[in-house]
């Protein structure tokens, strides 16, 4: 299999995922493992589905180990341990150790609030390669309110320091929205002060929980423009010191994002219960049946052959305006989950695209919400959400 090509002129090309998999649907380079949906935080923009997997449904330690071995065998190079809060699993050290033993590069995506220094040290000894800690703001008033967890911000700062003391590389994940975008310049400084190597400035994506909270989170166009200028300036200033990845909300774009690099082209994730999914929000699309690692099929078979992965692969499923659009193989019609959430049909054009008949309406609605008074959150939990008390209009 020669699905990785290297341009001869560049001795250090970044392997673009589409190049590795585009035509052949070769196995993705990296896989997201959502090992639990349990989490002490209650962020109103959580990327988990609204219907969370309860702990009784979670894969066992032995099942996750089998998954890790299989992923390494079929050519996956990196795994991201995520959740929920992955440190809520008592067997995390054991799983990281196993992943390292089978040759996988391991990344921990964590809220950090459950970690002790000893456990972090055990994770480092188990071979953990990289730690990503999410921050909800730059000071505990706002940050703890967004996370719905008192003392969380202080704990995150402490764990970030331990991470660097243990010589583990650190990425600060800054999830941004209308209520904290004004803190972005200080967030960049905080990442520097914490000696992070990378900063992800990720504007909230509006599916699932975030869609329920859209009116409280959607930034204004002016805020977003300022955010982009801040990131561009900081990237230039901090070149070689801090890598900044930037994710913009697509509501204000004219062209939709190439979500997941195209459905079933370069990404899959595994849910706590073992479902193999084309996107971490895919279970929000009703009428699709997702295969599990508990089935009789191999992960490679599920990736190549399952109905859910093939349903929106390529361009054959498209309707107009995507079908005859010159950009159809550039953005693949945007995000299927967003199309489903906003139009009721995942095969419709993502309304983030200016060619969608719904684009104008949705843009106007987002703009109105961004300028509105609502700041109260619906917190994420297993009970279907709890409305914030004492805040708001």
């Amino acid at each position: 299999m020669s699905d990785v090509t290297i341009p001869p002129s560049d001795s250090l090309a970044v392997l673009e995922k589409q190049r590795s998999t585009a035509e052949t649907f070769g196995i993705p380079l990296a896989v997201l493992l959502e090992i639990t949906h349990r989490c002490p935080l209650q962020c109103p923009y959580c990327s988990n589905p609204v219907e969370l997997d309860r702990s009784a449904k979670e894969l066992t330690t032995a099942e996750w180990k089998k998954v890790l071995t299989e992923l390494a065998e079929i050519g996956v190079l990196q795994v991201h341990f995520s959740g929920g809060e992955p440190t809520a699993r008592k067997d995390l050290v054991e799983l990281v150790k196993h992943a390292s033993d089978v040759g996988l590069y391991t990344n921990l995506i964590t809220s950090a609030v459950l970690l002790t220094r000893e456990r972090l040290s055990d994770l480092a000894d188990a071979g953990l390669c990289h730690v990503q800690i999410s921050f909800q703001g730059i000071e505990e008033g706002l940050a703890d309110r967004v996370g719905g967890y008192k003392g969380g911000h202080r704990k995150k700062l402490e764990v970030a320091r331990w991470t660097r003391e243990l010589d583990l590389p650190l990425t600060v994940n800054a999830v941004m929205h209308r209520q904290n975008l004004h803190q972005l310049p200080d967030m960049i400084q905080m990442a520097l002060d914490l000696d992070a190597d990378r900063l992800e400035v990720a504007n909230v994506q509006y599916y699932g929980w975030a869609l329920k909270n859209r009116a409280a989170l959607m930034p204004t166009v002016a805020q977003l423009d300022k955010c982009t200028r801040t990131v561009v300036e900081a990237r230039e200033r901090l070149k070689g010191r801090l890598t900044i990845d930037y994710v913009v909300p697509d509501y204000y774009a004219l062209r939709p994002k190439k979500c997941m690099g195209g459905w079933g082209r370069q990404f899959f994730n595994i849910s706590p219960a073992g479902k193999v999914l084309p996107c971490h929000a895919a279970e929000s699309i009703t009428g699709l049946d997702f295969e599990s690692v508990r089935s009789n099929h191999s992960i490679a078979w599920i990736w190549q052959n399952s109905e859910a992965f093939n349903r929106y692969r390529g361009t054959g499923w498209m309707k107009e305006p995507c079908k005859s659009c010159e950009f159809r193989e550039i953005d693949f019609g945007g995000c299927r989950c967003q199309a489903f959430a906003l139009t009721g049909d995942a095969a419709n054009t993502d309304p983030a695209c200016a060619l969608s008949p719904l684009h104008e309406t949705i843009f106007k609605q987002a703009e109105a919400e961004a300028g509105g008074e609502t700041s109260r959150f619906l917190y994420r939990n297993f009970a279907g959400g709890t409305l914030e008390s004492g805040n708001d209009a």
Binding site: L12, L29, D167
Partner: protein, 103 residues
């Protein structure tokens, strides 16, 4: 601890890949890769050879000596290319270096 930031690669530098950048042969795709946070780089043959020599003990000058001898090629040209490649990697945040203690 990891080396200092803002690495400027010179003939005297003794670079090494940091913990979060792992050079590995990918059996499935039959290609060398550098695994890094949220990135997979594909170094070419020469880059792989250089990185295999960068152990934190050899200087960049030593590496150029070795490659010049092996390929019977002009040392200065090799040195220029090696420094350029390593500086590129350093700018991406995937290189560290061992320095003498100064205090």
């Amino acid at each position: 601890m990891a080396g200092p930031r803002h690495i400027s690669v010179s003939e005297a530098s003794r670079p090494v890949l940091p913990r979060h950048a792992k050079l590995k042969y990918d059996e499935t795709r039959q290609v060398w890769v550098i695994l890094a946070p949220e990135r997979v780089l594909a170094p070419d043959e020469i880059a792989v050879e250089v990185l295999q020599l960068c152990d934190g003990k050899r200087s960049v000058g030593d590496v150029a000596d070795q490659l010049a001898a092996k390929y019977a090629a002009p040392r200065e040209a090799i040195l220029t290319d090696v420094i350029a490649m390593l500086q590129d990697l350093a700018d991406k945040g995937f290189l560290t270096e061992i320095r003498e203690k100064t205090s």
